[in-house]
Every structure is written in structure tokens, then in C-alpha cells.
Symmetry: C2
Subunit: 680 residues, 2 copies
């Protein structure tokens, strides 16, 4: 079912009615074949609504229906490509073929994105198949407002679309709208509660199942399966057992019964997401078991039903002593998990953050992704802008994710991250020989905000995430362009041009005014990682240090003299990162402690780079204000005002970053800025 937005005040994101005009003006035949599921109904309803609005016509036919008299044929056929669709143009008719209604829905939106161009000259079949079979969004939404973390942990777009007033919302119309948006970009999995599972939220697995089913009913018609984050301590917390030990038969029985109940209520339930033995969450360590024992416990409960465990590899010592330079948080995931390769059941996916620390704007790629060929792996990205400006800053993350997914991490350089997590041939060497793949996951950035994402332009991140999860080789700037066309259909060309000006390189601009050269953090702990605080995490328990002194800065993670983290990489990366001469500038301070006068590949000293890039970046951000102001009247007023207000804040905040970071390094190094720009 396709629901319209319940309130005219909710922004349609990239699916305004006008974006469907090229489709809606055509005569469309839909043939669902034998697929009688709810997604087919969505396809029909999308076409019905678009054609009704834009003067076209819908015919619902079958495989006997002629394509004559139609501009577009959407057809479920057994020869459609697995998980995808094929589009061709022949005899003036555009034909989309998919093996099931879900593929057809994705093909339908492919036509929407193409617009009139889908109805041009004849062309040969083009097949589109997602690289990653699971393309998930994780919601860090809480049912009860958490006293510190709020309704949505790391949420910057208002409340939760799922929960309010301590319960699952009665009115889930925003979820229905959201499901439509996700289905349109190929997302097929969603975990609806925070990985930090508090007491109330734990009960979704038991008392809350009817509510979870209501949510799943809204995602299902868009090809999206529902997952729950669960507490490893559930047998104790919910079941009244005295232990959650994976080896305990009562515990095993409890999980099996819990899974049985879930699937009795939601037959296509996706599975569990688990954060265990991480930042205080319970886990198998309490019982002397390891992560494989823990994950397999849950996997065996889900297996009879076809469910999957997404087990997070984000495990490290969060009570570190800042005095201790031998312990390295960056090493932790590899040290914990690499030895377990081959021990996880086949329905366990190990969910690995893209970098070894925590969603920084710049990190090296996690070496765990190269280290576990006999394990299903998923890479975890962060759409919500925890470390990238809280959706107050323009920071288009498509280019970051594109780099991550395309990074040739494995020893065979053709095995980039996307291929690793997609389980493409060559990666695996397991008894079964053809383990299913892992996938791509990310933390969502939506809330009950009018614009979904707080900053209206942050919608582009959600869009790009879905599109890149389907096709990691897509050009992120082209995806941005696609998003602009859909979101601002028919807009003055200046809108497109200005959005490119603001957004194309906005990630690099954000990086340029924040922590330099891959050193990370320098965010304010007191404001949830927003704004500058150069020493904010320097003397903390979190393992996130830059070690700046009057002579230099950076973390020595070399094998020769440092923590040895560089040695966790396969060649050539271990050598590349180990050697100051080959380590890329943007990761220099992640791998090396260098004097301020160290000369970068760019030819600048470290300290002058810090000075220059911060000042230059603020000049760039400042220029955006006028550029955006010139769009007044060319985009909807409310959206214009919201972006304008956030740009003002971005300028203010970026200026703080610039001045604090420059001043910090001047006070420490004593080196004047060669350009003479103000310093304090």
C-alpha cells in the first residue's frame, strides 16, 4: 500500500508528486505474474496514483497482455535477474522485468529516477542488481526518552517516527511514508530500535511483538524486512533466568522459544542486531564465552526461521587509562574478532564499522574487513551526523562512503570493501563454499522532523546511502545530482548549480575545518560530539587521543615504534601506512606522531596545513550563505529558511572550529601562521 503523507507539513523528500510526472503521464501496464504479495500492490498503487495525478493510464494485466498501446510495461517474469530488474526500450515501449514484485518496485523507481529519459530511443536491456543482498538501516531510537541520550540516540531530527510517550506510536503514518522512501532506493532491512537496548526497549522482543508486527506490516509492502536490536541479557531481564550463558540449555531454549514467538507473529522477520560486551552492554564475556559463542546462540534460535544475527564488532575497552600508550582502541576489533574467523554460524553477519575508531570524518578502513574471509561481514556506515555536524552542517557523505566501499582492502586488490561484504566470488573459503554475503548497514538520520532529517539537505545522505548500498560504484556526485532532480523537480537551474556548490565537496570542507590529518575527535564531549574541543577527549577513558605537545602531534600506530596497528593490514597497506614517506597526508596523524614542522606530501608543514585548511574552509562555508540566499523564492520558503538558519549556525560553528584549532596549535607550537591571518 502506498500512503500519502498524513500531514501537508511533512516534506516529501525525493518523492514529491512532480517527481513521478514522467511516469504518471504514460500509459502503463503492470503485470505481476504470480507474485500476489503486498509489494506488487505497492507497484500498482504507485502507478495508479502517478497516472491519476499526471494524466496517464494504468492497466493491470497478466502475461497474456499485449504491450501495444502502452508506454511502459512493468512485468514480473521468471527470467528477471535475481534481486534486481532489467530495463529495455523496444518499439517505443519501455519494459521493466523483474523476478518478483520487489525487483519490479526497484525497477519502477529506476524509471522514476530516469524520468523522460526512460522513454527515449530504443536501447538494449540493462540489468541492475544490488551488490549487497542486505542493505539495512539501523535506528537508534529509544521508546523511553533516555535521560542522557534522548528519544533518538545520536538523533538530530526531532523525535522518533516509531515511538512517543513511552510506547510505539498509534499513528504510524510517518513510518509508512518512510517505508516508501526506503523501498524507492532499495533499502530492504530496517532495525527499529537502539543497539543500546534499555529495559523498556528489550521488551519489544516479548510483550511488544504486536507493536513490532504493526511496524513490519508497514515496511513489508516496500520490500523491507524488520529487525530488532536485542539485549544479550534477555534471558535474565525478560525470561527471569539466572544466567544468559550461551552454553546453558535453558538459555538456548529461551532464545529458541523467543524466536518461535517472533516468527509466529512476523513470519518474514529479519533477525536480530546485537551490541554485546560493548560500552557496557551485556555479552558473552560475563560467562567466559567469546563472541562466536554469543552470536551463534542467537543464530541457532533464528535459523529454523531463516533469520539472521547482525553482531556488531564495535568492541573495545571503554575504560581505558589515557596514561597508557600501549593500549590502542584502533586495534580492538581486529584483536577480538580476527581470531574467531570461521567460528560464526552461517546466519551470523559480523557488522563492522568502516573505521577502527568510531565514524570519524576520516579514518582508515577497518582491517577487520580484510581479516575474516570465512565470516559473513557487513560494513556499518553512519548516515546520522554524529561526528559530522549534527545535521546542522551541510556535509554530504556520499563521497566518503564511495571511498569506503571502493577501497581495495584485501590482498587481491580487486576485492574492495563492497565486494568483501557482498561475498562475491574469490572472497570466501568455507566448507559450504557459498556462504551468503553480509551486507551494508548504516545508522539512519531521520526523525519526526518536518524535513525528516533536520537539515533538509541531509536527506541527500539518506538517499545516497541507499543508492550506494545498491551500487557502490555509482558516482556520488551523480547521485547527488539525481537527488536534486527528484527533490526539486522543475526547479530553476540555479538551484541545481548552487546545491552542487554547497554539497559536492562539503565532506572535505567539514574535514578541513575540524580535526586535521586523520587524528580524529577534538569534538566536544559536553555537547554530544558537536563543536570543537581540542583536548575534549585527550584525558578521557575513551581511547581517543592525539598526544599533542609543544613539539608535535599524532598517534604512533606503526609496528616499528608504535602500537602495531598498521600491522593488522594486509600488504600493501601495512607498508604504506607504516612508512612516513608513503602514508597519505589525510591519515598521517592517525598513524604517526610527527613534529609540527614535518612536511606533508602537499609541500606544507603540518602546522601550516592546520592553519591554512581551517581558514580556507571557513571562507568556503561563509560563501555558501550568500549562494543559498540567492535561491530565495526558487525553493519552497520553509525549506529555504531552514537551510539558511542552519548555514548561519554552520558558519558560526566552523568559525569556532577554525579559531580554536588554530589557536590551540599556535599556543602549543609557537609557530606563527605564515599568512598572518588572525590567531588568538
Amino acid at each position: 500500500m502506498v500512503s500519502a503523507s498524513t500531514s501537508p507539513r511533512v516534506h516529501p523528500a525525493w518523492l514529491p508528486d512532480a517527481a513521478l510526472a514522467p511516469l504518471g503521464a504514460r500509459r502503463v501496464l503492470v503485470d505481476l505474474g504470480r507474485d500476489a504479495g503486498p509489494v506488487g500492490a505497492t507497484v500498482v498503487e504507485e502507478v495508479r496514483r502517478a497516472t491519476a495525478a499526471h494524466g496517464g493510464a494504468l492497466t493491470v494485466g497478466d502475461d497474456a497482455s499485449s504491450t501495444d498501446g502502452h508506454d511502459l510495461v512493468l512485468r514480473v517474469a521468471p527470467d528477471g535477474p535475481d534481486h534486481g530488474f532489467t530495463r529495455l526500450r523496444t518499439g517505443g515501449v519501455t519494459v521493466v522485468v523483474a523476478p518478483d514484485a520487489t525487483g519490479l518496485l526497484h525497477g519502477l523507481h529506476d524509471v522514476v529516477r530516469a524520468g523522460d529519459a526512460a522513454f527515449g530511443a530504443d536501447h538494449a536491456p540493462v540489468t541492475s542488481r544490488p551488490v549487497a543482498p542486505v542493505r539495512m538501516l539501523d535506528h537508534w531510537d529509544n521508546i523511553d526518552v533516555h535521560p542522557v541520550m534522548g528519544q533518538v540516540e545520536r538523533g538530530y531530527a526531532g523525535g522518533s517516527i516509531f515511538y512517543a510517550d513511552g510506547r510505539v506510536r498509534e499513528d504510524l503514518s510517518r513510518v509508512a511514508d518512510y517505508a516508501r522512501l526506503l523501498g524507492s532506493i532499495g533499502i530492504n532491512a530496517v532495525a527499529i530500535n537502539n543497539v543500546n537496548v534499555h529495559r523498556t526497549e528489550a521488551r519489544l522482543l516479548t510483550d511488544g511483538l504486536a507493536d513490532v508486527a504493526r511496524v513490519a506490516d508497514l515496511f513489508r509492502p516496500h520490500g523491507v524486512r524488520t529487525y530488532l536490536s536485542v539485549s544479550f541479557a534477555s534471558p535474565v531481564v525478560l525470561g527471569g533466568l539466572t544466567t544468559s550463558d550461551p552454553a546453558d540449555p535453558d538459555v538456548q531454549a529461551w532464545w529458541a522459544a523467543a524466536a518461535d514467538r517472533v516468527y509466529a507473529t512476523i513470519p518474514d522477520f529479519g533477525g536480530f542486531v546485537v551490541k554485546a560486551d560493548s560500552e557496557g552492554q551485556p555479552g558473552p564475556f560475563a560467562y567466559g564465552r567469546d563472541h562466536a559463542d554469543g552470536a551463534n546462540l542467537l543464530a541457532r534460535a533464528l535459523r529454523p526461521h531463516g533469520g539472521t544475527v547482525f553482531w556488531r564488532a564495535f568492541v573495545y575497552n571503554h575504560e581505558q587509562d589515557w596514561r597508557d600508550r600501549r593500549t590502542d582502541r584502533a586495534r580492538a576489533a581486529y584483536d577480538h574478532f580476527a581470531p574467531l574467523d570461521g567460528r560464526f554460524d552461517e546466519n551470523v553477519v559480523l557488522q563492522v564499522k568502516y573505521g577502527p575508531i568510531d565514524f570519524q570524518p576520516r579514518e582508515p578502513i577497518s582491517p577487520v574487513l580484510a581479516a575474516m574471509p570465512r565470516t559473513r561481514l557487513a560494513v556499518e556506515l553512519q548516515v546520522t551526523q554524529e561526528y559530522t555536524g549534527h545535521q546542522k552542517h551541510v556535509c554530504y557523505l556520499g563521497p566518503l562512503w564511495s571511498q569506503v566501499l571502493g577501497f581495495p582492502l584485501a590482498e587481491d586488490a580487486t576485492r574492495d570493501v563492497a565486494r568483501i561484504v557482498s561475498g562475491l566470488p574469490g572472497h570466501r573459503d568455507t566448507p559450504s563454499g557459498d556462504l551468503p554475503a553480509g551486507g551494508i548497514t548504516a545508522v539512519s538520520n531521520v526523525g519526526d522532523d518536518e524535513f525528516w532529517t533536520g537539515h533538509p539537505l541531509a536527506q541527500a545522505n539518506l538517499y545516497a546511502y541507499g543508492r550506494l548500498a545498491w551500487n557502490p560504484e555509482a558516482d556520488p556526485v551523480e547521485l547527488l545530482d539525481e537527488w536534486i532532480g527528484l527533490t526539486f523537480p522543475g526547479a530553476d537551474p540555479r538551484v541545481r548549480a548552487t546545491l552542487h556548490t554547497l554539497m559536492d565537496d562539503s565532506w572535505l570542507t567539514y574535514e578541513a575545518y575540524t580535526a586535521p590529518l586523520g587524528v580524529g575527535f577534538m569534538v566536544d564531549p559536553g555537547r554530544g560530539h558537536y563543536g570543537p574541543n581540542v583536548d575534549g577527549y585527550e584525558y578521557s577513558k575513551w581511547g581517543t587521543y592525539h598526544f599533542a605537545d609543544r613539539d608535535g602531534i599524532g598517534v604512533d600506530r606503526t609496528v616499528a615504534t608504535g602500537t602495531g596497528y598498521a600491522g593488522q593490514y594486509p600488504s600493501p597497506w601495512r607498508e604504506t601506512y607504516e612508512d612516513l614517506a608513503t602514508c597519505p597526508d589525510e591519515l598521517l596523524l592517525f598513524f604517526h606522531h610527527v613534529p609540527y614542522g614535518h612536511v606533508l606530501h602537499s609541500g606544507k608543514t603540518v602546522v601550516q596545513h592546520v592553519y591554512d585548511s581551517r581558514a580556507d574552509a571557513v571562507d568556503v562555508v561563509t560563501s555558501w550563505v550568500d549562494a543559498w540566499a540567492a535561491l530565495d523564492g526558487l525553493v519552497p520558503d520553509g525549506l529555504h529558511a531552514r537551510v539558511a538558519e542552519r548555514l548561519d549556525e554552520q558558519v558560526r560553528s566552523a568559525t569556532e572550529w577554525r579559531d580554536q584549532v588554530r589557536t590551540y596549535f599556535f599556543r602549543k607550537s609557537g609557530v606563527p601562521d605564515a599568512t598572518g591571518r588572525p590567531i588568538y
Copy 2:
């Protein structure tokens, strides 16, 4: 009336039954003369309870009663000293004479404190009179739990004794116990709600009056008058007016009517405490009026009833730009208020924090106290340990307050702070010639904690505050000894010795492991000013900077080259502080920016002083753990355990302070610690 503690779990502080044994074992005659007020009943009840418990006898007589057959005579007589009492010993009878029952109550407790020594050899009359006529405690208690500041702002002892569940408590027995404690040390005024007056709390002035009266009824029998903190915006917030402009007749009428209602309900109501145009609180600036206009508005409403306005001088720009080194928060109170000297009505007291910043462990004395001879002044201290370890650290503040009150600030060196705020002859030069004095105020440190103050030893701060407010010339270590004797009556002598070991110099020890040489702050903004964060306030809006760079540290507040703050002092202090050669070490960095190699009067360099004093102080704190452990079994178990637990935390926290501050300065200065102790 004297109430017993309602719960055996509430610690009796310095009034355990045993502390009253020397009195209670005697035959006591009480003669209240013509004073038929509630305080007289308290005197009688105190004696009745003590004698009943300890085998003595009470006779309630009149001025015809013979002193024969009594050990102690407590008598209200017209010739008693104003506000005080006289004690003598003659013919084996101890006689206390006071002009009213309140003085007699204070005399009674003087006998309690003296114990058996009050019944020794005959001696001539000794008169005790309080130096400050108003000796107040301010409670920063909220009715509604504030989302950031909690039930008690800067409270470290549990919830409020006044409020719970969004209303004034039904059961106010803790307030009655508290009133008895306050009366016993001579406190005579209490403001029962936070100076940051939020919406619910504002209504105490109107809808809440019946509840305020219930509280006042409990303080009155102990000689304590009740005050309210009020919002300057009350006419708008409570009265529905469109303005709170002091010049507006409707506003004036509103305040007059409000005061009339208060006094109709509570005839001995003390008055208002006001934080206006400070840290976001409303005030007269919004209407183009100044603080005198604002204070006088309220004063005129109170004047017909004998009430007083305590108007806080804590006014500064709390949206400062850290880049701006010309603005100096330290200057603010003087700049705002000194020009207004002589403009305040006679029932206005200007309440001035002892230092120019904010209750730091070490600040120079506020120059405002020397600058307003035609204004009634009160000095404000902080018993609650906002900046001195949150009542997790042993930090006996008596010596700090003793220094403050005894500081010879005015040009006539005999005019110390205590004399200034007491309006003693020589200070004033006003038309009326005999303005009443200001007083001494402080923020209370009690809550609904079993031990009143979280850390049991923090009770000594409350005790010493009251005693010093009565007699600023008292020796703080003697007061501590007095407190020990009362609180641990009959204890093994090792208790007394150990408490002196821990507490006598604990303020200096705390100073020695925290921010050095008067520079202040370096506390963690993210933990409410607890624990170290050297740069925590360095790039903030709060005007609290140390300006450390690789070469040196400190704030240049000289007239010659700095902010000119030193020039706000009368001679000789302006010259003393201005000159590096005469500025005392402990305030060096408050007044001067110096290189790390600057040699202190102590002979050490600044940086070596930082290294040494932090390390030495932690060694001291660490030694306390064993010293306290040796008292196991010699003090009540619960109290022993509570102190032991807090000492462990103090060692942990002090160690953090030591290591972070030492490391910070090593990283900045590059100067090694000459002693070779560990640095990171």
C-alpha cells in the same frame, strides 16, 4: 519547639544527645522574662529534653526566682547585650543573660559547646555578640527537578529537604531538624529557593505562600527568618502584566500588593533574594533601568513591612568571546555596581561573592566590597562544594572563609571584610548616618542525605560557616575542634587527632592538586565543575581563561599592560597586585601572565611548583586513607564507611588532577619535572 529527628537514620550532626550531656546533667533555671515568643519555648524544650536524658532538672521561673539550687540560669533580661548574650560564673552558678529568647538560645548553645568547662571556676561576664546582624543561608533548591541542574542546583547531598515530587514536602521534619541545627550556630536567615527562579518556584511568592508559611513556622522557633528568591519578571510571569519595568506604576503596585500578601501570611518574613540580569535571569536592563532602580522597586514594596532585598552583584557577560582579551569578567561586578554607590534604598543589601569570579578555591577578595561605602553590603560564601570537590572530597573551608572575612580590604586597614559587611563605625558615610549593616550569606550544602551533606565531614563546613558568621575572628581550626567534640562526643582521642590530620589543611591540599597559583577553573564543564579539565573553560563563553601557551600562563590583569582589574582595588592592594615582585604567589596567575620559568617567592619556578605541589598533595590525600581506616570501630560504622568510600574517590580524583595538570604543563612547556616523578 524542638523536634527529634524523625528517622533514626538521620545523622544528628553536631547535636547528638550526648553533646548535651554536660548541660543535661545540671539543674537549670530558665527565666524568659517577658519574651513569650516561640524561641523561648525552644530554649525550654532543649533544656527539658537534655535534663530528662541526662539526669538534670529544669525549672521554668521568672525574674523573682532565686538562682540558688541551680547550676545554670538562663535569663532574658533587658540589660542583655543586643543580639547577643553574656555568660558568667558566680558562686558556683553559671548565668547566661540575653535581651531576648533568641539571644538566650544562642547562649544556651554556647554552654553546650563549652560543655563541662562552662561549670568550672567562677569568671567575669563574657559577652558574645554577632558581628554580622544577618547571617544567612541560601538554598539553591528547586521545586521541579531541573533537567540540567536537578532538584538542588549545585547540591551534592541528595534531594531537597524542602521539596519533593514537584511540591513543598508534606513531611517537613527534616526542615525542623535543620532549623534546630542552624539556630544552634547562630544562623538567623534562610532563603528557601534557588536564585535561578524557574517557573514553578516563582509561584512560591503567590500560590505557594501557605507552604512558605509552613516552612517559616519551623524556622521561627530557632530564631531564623525565612526569605524567598524571587524573579524580577514576576509582574509578567505571575501578574499577567506586560512589563516588569521598575518605573511602571502598575509594576510597583503589583510588588506592593505581593509584599502585602506575603506579610499578611508571614508577619516576620525576611525579604527577597534576587539574581537579576545575571546568567540569563530577567532584570531591569530590559527596560533601560539599572540595578539600583531594580533593587529599589522591590525594596519599596518590602519597606512598610520591615523586609529587606538581598540583591546579588554577580553580574557579568556570560556570552563572552574567548578571543577577546580586553573584556575581563573579574572587572564586571565593580564596573556594574560601584557607580551605583549611594543609590540603593536603605533596605537593600548588595550581596557580593567573595571573589570577582565565582567561588574558586583561591581568588582575590572582590574589590566591590571596598568600593561602596554608602551601600549595605553582604559577602556571599559557598558552603556547598561546587568548585571544591562536590562533597566527595574532604575540603574544610573554615580557613578560606576566615581569610576572606579577615582580609583588610579597605583603605583603612582596620576595616576588614567582616567589618565592612557589618557596617561597623567608620565604614559608612551616608545621609542617615547609621545605615544598618549588610551581613554574611552563603549557599547551603545540605540535602536529604542521611548525613545531611553527603560527605559526613562536610558538616563541619556548615558548622564553621555559622560560627564564623557570628564571630569572624574565631580560629577556624579551633572551630573544627569544637565541631569534632560535639559531633563525636566521648570518642577515642585518635578520632580527634585524625580528623585534624585530614581536615585542618584540607582546603590548601585541595588547592594544591587543582588549578595552580590562583588561575582558577580547570574544572570539567561536562561534570558540573568536578574533576580536572585544564582547557575545559579555555575556549568558552564564560570569561574564565588561563591563556596557557608553550611559553607561559596566567591572566594579565595589571593596569600597566592588562585588563586594569588590579586598579579596582584601593591601596595598598592595587600596587601589591600590580607588581610581580609583590603579588603573592597564590594569586600570581590571577594577576599576571608569566613564563613557566618565572621564579616564585617560594624559590621554585612556576612549572616546578605545578609539578611538585600536585604530586605532594596527592601523597597527602593518599595518606588519609590509612589514617581513616585506623578509626574503624571508633566512629559509627555507617559514617566510617561513607567517609572511607569518599576518600577512595578523592584519591582517584586527586590523582586525575595531578596527572592531567602535570601532563598538560609538561606537554606545553617541555620542561621536565626535576624530581623525575611520572609524567605522561
